[in-house]
C-alpha cells in the first residue's frame, strides 16, 4: 500500500523519476544531485552530479529524451545528458540575478522554464546554430519570487505561482521551437510572455505549488493560508476555493481529470475532488495504526515520571509515516490522467510511494474518480 525509502537525515529537497521509474534523481539539501538505481526493493546510489555551487532547488527528468535539468540557488541551471554510463553537463545561463527556485521541462521536452527570486520566469530553448541554450524572460506583471511552475499539455502555456499571492497563466511560446498553438480555453492569442489569466483566492499566503489538470482546462494551486483553489477555464475562469482546518499544503498534483493529491505541513497526503464548480475534501492517504505501547518496566516508569513528568511511554515519533513536512508530491505510476501511484518526499529524508488503488479499497471514504 505504501513503500517507504529513507535517504538519511537530511531533507529531500526535490526528486524526479526517469521514464520507467528504474532511476531517480534527488537532492539532499546540498549542492549535489544523486542518481539512484532501483535494485530489488532498494535504491542504490550510482552517481553524484556535483557542478552546482549552491543548494540545488529543483530537478526535472525528461522521460522521452532522458535528460535531467537541475537548477540551484547559484542562479544557474544545468542540462545533463547520459553518455555511456557518465552524465555530462551543459551549463545554461538563465540571466537571473537571484536564486532559481523551480524548473520544469515542457511536455515536448524542447524547452524548460526556470522560476526565480528575481521576479521573472526564464524560458530556455536550445539554439542549434550556436550550440547554446538561449533564455527569454517573462517579467510583467510578476511582482515577487516565482515559487512553482507547471506546463500546459499544449507545450505553450505555463502556470506560475508566486509569493505575491497570485497564480498566473502565461504564454511561453517560442517561434524558434513551437508551431503556432491552436486556441485553448485560456485564450487564442498567445504571443510570448502574454499574461493569459491572473488569479488570487482573496486572502493572502504564498502560492506553494500549482498544477494544470491533465486536459489543461483547470489549474489547481495551494497557498500558505491553508487553502486549495481550482480555476476552470471552460467555465469562464470560475474560481473554487476550500479553506479548512488543515495546515498549509506545499505541493499538489492532479491524479485524474477530477481528483488531486495535496501534501504539506500535515505530513499526510490528502485527496481532493473537483466537480460542478466545487472542491470536495477527500480522505487522507495515511491512516496511522495506533502503536501498541509496550510494557515498561517499573524502574523506567518512575524514571520517566521523574525526568519527563509522565509515567507513560514517551514516544517522540508522530503517528504518520512521514515524520516531517512533505515538500513534493509527484505522479509515480501512470500519468496525471490516471495515476495509480504517487511519490512524496519530505524534510524527514523519506520518499514514500503510495499505491492509490489499494488505498482506495482499504480506506473508507477514499474515492478517486
Amino acid at each position: 500500500m505504501s513503500e517507504k525509502h529513507n535517504f538519511g537525515v537530511a531533507p529531500v529537497t526535490c526528486h524526479s523519476f526517469n521514464k520507467d521509474r528504474t532511476c531517480m534523481a534527488l537532492s539532499l539539501n546540498d549542492s549535489n544531485v544523486k542518481i539512484y538505481k532501483k535494485s530489488g526493493p532498494k535504491w542504490q546510489e550510482t552517481d553524484t552530479l556535483s557542478e552546482h555551487g549552491q543548494r540545488v532547488t529543483s530537478i526535472d527528468w525528461a522521460p522521452e529524451s532522458n535528460r535531467i535539468v537541475t537548477c540551484s540557488a547559484d542562479r544557474n541551471a544545468f542540462v545533463w545528458m547520459l553518455e555511456g554510463s557518465k552524465w555530462k553537463q551543459v551549463l545554461v545561463i538563465p540571466r537571473i540575478n537571484r536564486a532559481a527556485t523551480c524548473v520544469k521541462w515542457s511536455p515536448k521536452e524542447d524547452k524548460f522554464a526556470v522560476g526565480s527570486g528575481s521576479r521573472l520566469i526564464a524560458i530556455c530553448y536550445y539554439d542549434v546554430e550556436n550550440n547554446w541554450w538561449v533564455s527569454r524572460h517573462i517579467k510583467k506583471p510578476i511582482r515577487s519570487t516565482v515559487t512553482c511552475l507547471d506546463w500546459h499539455p499544449n507545450n505553450v502555456l505555463l502556470a506560475a505561482g508566486s509569493t505575491d499571492f497570485k497564480c498566473r497563466v502565461f504564454s511561453g511560446y517560442q517561434k524558434e521551437v513551437d508551431q503556432k498553438p491552436g486556441p485553448t480555453a485560456w485564450g487564442s492569442k498567445m504571443p510570448f510572455g502574454n499574461l493569459m489569466a491572473e488569479f488570487s483566492n482573496g486572502g493572502g499566503g504564498w502560492v506553494h505549488s500549482v498544477s494544470f489538470s491533465p486536459s489543461g482546462d483547470k489549474v489547481a494551486w495551494v497557498g500558505h493560508d491553508s487553502s486549495v483553489s481550482v480555476v476552470d477555464a471552460t467555465m469562464g475562469n470560475q474560481l473554487a476555493v476550500v479553506k479548512e482546518s488543515f495546515l498549509p499544503f506545499m505541493s499538489i498534483t492532479w491524479v485524474t481529470e477530477n481528483s488531486m493529491v495535496a501534501a504539506g505541513h500535515d505530513c499526510n497526503p490528502m485527496v481532493f475532488s473537483y466537480g460542478e464548480g466545487k472542491i470536495t475534501v477527500g480522505a487522507k492517504l495515511d491512516q496511522p495504526q495506533e502503536k501498541q505501547s509496550g510494557n515498561i518496566s517499573a524502574m523506567n516508569r518512575f524514571k520517566n515520571l521523574d525526568k519527563k513528568g509522565t509515567g507513560s511511554d514517551t514516544a517522540t515519533d508522530i503517528k504518520t509515516q512521514h515524520q516531517n513536512t512533505i515538500t513534493q508530491v509527484s505522479v509515480h505510476t501512470g500519468t496525471k490522467n490516471d495515476a495509480s501511484k504517487v511519490a512524496t518526499s519530505g524534510l524527514d529524508g523519506n520518499l514514500i510511494l503510495w499505491d492509490l488503488k489499494s488505498l482506495e479499497s482499504s480506506i473508507q471514504g477514499l474515492r478517486i474518480a
Partner: protein, 147 residues
C-alpha cells in the same frame, strides 16, 4: 566650498518608499467610515449571538482608517466579554468566513489586553479553535486584509 553641508534633513527621508521594486498590496481600500453600528449593538442586551454576528459581518476590513478598525475591535471585545449563553453552540452556528473573522478579532484582542479580557479571549479562542482548527489561525497570520 559653496556646498551647504550643515543640513541634515536628508537623514529623515524614508528611501525605501522610493524603491521601484517595492511591493505594494493591490487591495482596493474603500477608506469609508464603515463598520458596525455601535448604538445598535448597545441595544441588543439579550440576543448576544445577533450582536456578534452583526459586528462580524460589518467588520471594517476594507477601511484605511485605523480609528474605525480600533472602534470595531473594542466593540467586539465588549460583546465577547458580555456574552452570556452557550459559546460552543454560537461558534458552531457561524459559517467559515465568520469563524475566520472571529479568530482574527480574538488575536487582535490579545494585542490590546485589558483587565480580564485575556482570560475571556482565551476561552473563546479554545472554542473557535475547536471549529476552525489550525487553518483558521494560518489565515489570521497570512491574510493581507488586517483587522
Amino acid at each position: 566650498m559653496a556646498k551647504n553641508t550643515g543640513s541634515s534633513k536628508f537623514r529623515k527621508v524614508d528611501v525605501d518608499q522610493y524603491d521601484e521594486d517595492r511591493f505594494v498590496d493591490d487591495i482596493t481600500e474603500s477608506g469609508e467610515e464603515g463598520g458596525p453600528n455601535e448604538t445598535e449593538v448597545n441595544n441588543i442586551t439579550d440576543k448576544y449571538q445577533d450582536a456578534l454576528l452583526h459586528v462580524l459581518q460589518n467588520a471594517p476590513i476594507e477601511s484605511k482608517n485605523q480609528a474605525v478598525k480600533d472602534r470595531a475591535t473594542n466593540l467586539l471585545v465588549r460583546v465577547l466579554t458580555a456574552f452570556k449563553g452557550d459559546i460552543d453552540q454560537c461558534v458552531k452556528s457561524l459559517d467559515g468566513k465568520s469563524v475566520d473573522m472571529l479568530m482574527k478579532y480574538i488575536y487582535r484582542g490579545f494585542e490590546i489586553p485589558t483587565e480580564n479580557s485575556s482570560a475571556i479571549l482565551l476561552t473563546w479562542h479554545q472554542k473557535v479553535f475547536a471549529v476552525g482548527g489550525l487553518g483558521s489561525i494560518m489565515r489570521v497570520m497570512t491574510d493581507r486584509k488586517r483587522v
